[in-house]
């Protein structure tokens, strides 16, 4: 009968906003950074000619992409203790989400590295660069530009996927909405406010992605 309780909207803005700032956003930033570093490592491993190096990377990507994130979080938080490894919500959430981002982003990074023309490798080698220097100075900077649209999608998915870590008792925006809704029974209002928060964050990130794409492309497009 009630519809939207505007007083509750106002009074829940800060409790939910606080969890966005203290939970959702820091978790997103940390896991994206870790996931990206992992993605570059895994992408390079998959590009290695050595099967002993590329096979484990391929296995990791296959397992993470082939199982639900929710299930992965359950295994880390509820499953590992039976193997004698008990983790708190924060490390559980960070590990689960970083592993997930790492797998998806590694495919984008791998594709981007492969998209850098072979002539760039050759030119770098003829001025004396080795493989590592070529990657660092020539290939990865160009691969970054190519990977931005795809990594932007990964980041936006990640923002929303952080809501799943409420199941490992990590308090963030969605969990806080659940808690307040459970006390007030105003489900539509609370989840509505939470949805608007997520949407605004993703809008800002989309805008940032567009700006970044333009910035990185300024020396490339003719």
């Amino acid at each position: 009968m009630s519809g939207i309780d505007w007083d509750l909207v106002r009074s829940s803005l800060w409790p939910l906003g606080r969890e966005l700032l203290q939970g959702t956003l820091p978790l997103t930033a940390v896991t994206f950074a870790l996931g990206l570093a992992l993605a570059v490592l895994v992408a390079l491993m998959r590009l290695s000619g050595n099967r002993l190096v590329s096979a484990p990377a391929q296995f990791y990507v296959s397992v993470i992409r082939g199982t639900p994130l929710l299930l992965q979080l359950f295994i880390i938080f509820f499953g590992l203790p039976s193997l004698g490894l008990t983790l708190d919500p924060w490390p559980s959430a960070i590990i689960g989400l970083s592993l997930n981002v790492g797998a998806y982003a590694s495919e984008a990074v791998r594709g981007a590295i492969l998209a850098v023309p072979r002539g760039q490798w050759e030119a770098a080698m003829t001025v004396g660069m080795g493989r590592v220097t070529t990657l660092r100075r020539v290939v990865l900077p160009q691969a970054a530009r190519i990977a931005v649209p795809s990594l932007g999608n990964t980041l936006i998915s990640l923002v929303k996927d952080t809501s799943l870590v409420s199941v490992v008792l990590f308090t963030e925006l969605f969990r806080q909405a659940q808690i307040i809704a459970g006390q007030t029974f105003e489900y539509f209002t609370l989840y509505g406010v939470a949805a608007v928060y997520y949407w605004v964050v993703c809008l800002v990130l989309s805008f940032g992605q567009t700006r970044l794409e333009a910035r990185l492309s300024r020396h490339v497009a003719a």
Partner: protein, 251 residues
């Protein structure tokens, strides 16, 4: 007679079943210009790329200065890198680094690979850019330049590592016809300065005017070699004559 600065012997290379080099010898005296000519598929670019290990021949030796490599001994990456360090290369498609300024392109070898001080490398790079007529383009990005300017930056980048030999792989083939001249002029002046150059080219006028020797390749072998006045003007071999005739009169 002193030993040539660059010497390749018995280069053999296959791509799958296709044997593209069937025992090629090249000798380049210091300070001279050697032009490799021949029809497409003759192996001339593969010869050039074997001189710095961008291609890996199955057998044969390459020596540049005091660095020698025996390809049949399966040299490791470090040995190939040492040979490669003796030469610079100018590519058909310039292969400039699009994310770096012109100046950073030229200093990329000295700074990133040779570890020379940035300030010193930049000073030298500016001199090289002036040398190829692009002193005012140091802060531009490659995409802002014409094809001829891009290729001249490519030349400056190749010179910046102070190589013994500069290898040119069809440096004007991808250019609009009106831009070919500015690149050839720079190359001609480098030759006059005494740079040792090996040039794969279809520019017969350049070969005739600038080369000290011309090697005509066909079917993975050197069919004929000698001074341009001989090979290009009075070729001994029928295949050379046919090739030159086709260039002269494509229709």
């Amino acid at each position: 007679m002193t030993a040539p600065l660059l010497e390749a012997r018995g280069l053999v290379k296959s791509f799958g079943d296709n044997r593209v080099l069937r025992g090629v010898d090249v000798a380049v005296p210091a300070g001279s210009v050697t032009c490799l000519i021949g029809p497409s598929g003759s192996g001339k670019t593969t010869v050039l790329r074997s001189l710095n290990g961008l291609e890996t021949p199955e057998s044969g030796t390459v020596r540049v200065g005091d660095v020698e490599l025996d390809w049949s001994a399966r040299p490791d990456a470090r040995a190939v890198a040492r040979l490669r360090g003796q030469s610079g290369m100018v590519f058909q498609a310039h292969n400039l680094f699009p994310h770096l300024t012109v100046l950073d392109n030229v200093t990329s070898g000295p700074v990133f690979a040779q570890g020379r001080p940035r300030a010193e490398a930049q000073e030298e790079a500016r001199a090289l850019l002036a040398r190829v007529g692009l002193a005012d383009k140091a802060d531009s990005f490659p995409v802002q330049l014409s094809g001829g300017q891009q290729q001249r930056v490519g030349i400056a980048r190749a010179l910046a590592t102070r190589p013994e030999v500069v290898l040119f792989d069809e440096p004007t083939s991808a250019l609009d016809p009106e831009l070919v001249g500015e690149v050839l002029q720079v190359m001609q002046s480098l030759a006059a300065e005494g740079w040792t150059m090996v040039v794969v080219t279809h520019e017969m006028r350049f070969a005739r005017q600038v080369a000290d020797q011309v090697l005509f390749l066909d079917g993975g072998v050197v069919v004929e070699h000698g001074p341009p006045s001989a090979v290009l003007v009075e070729p001994r071999e029928a295949r050379t004559r046919q090739f030159l005739q086709r260039l002269l009169d494509p229709l």
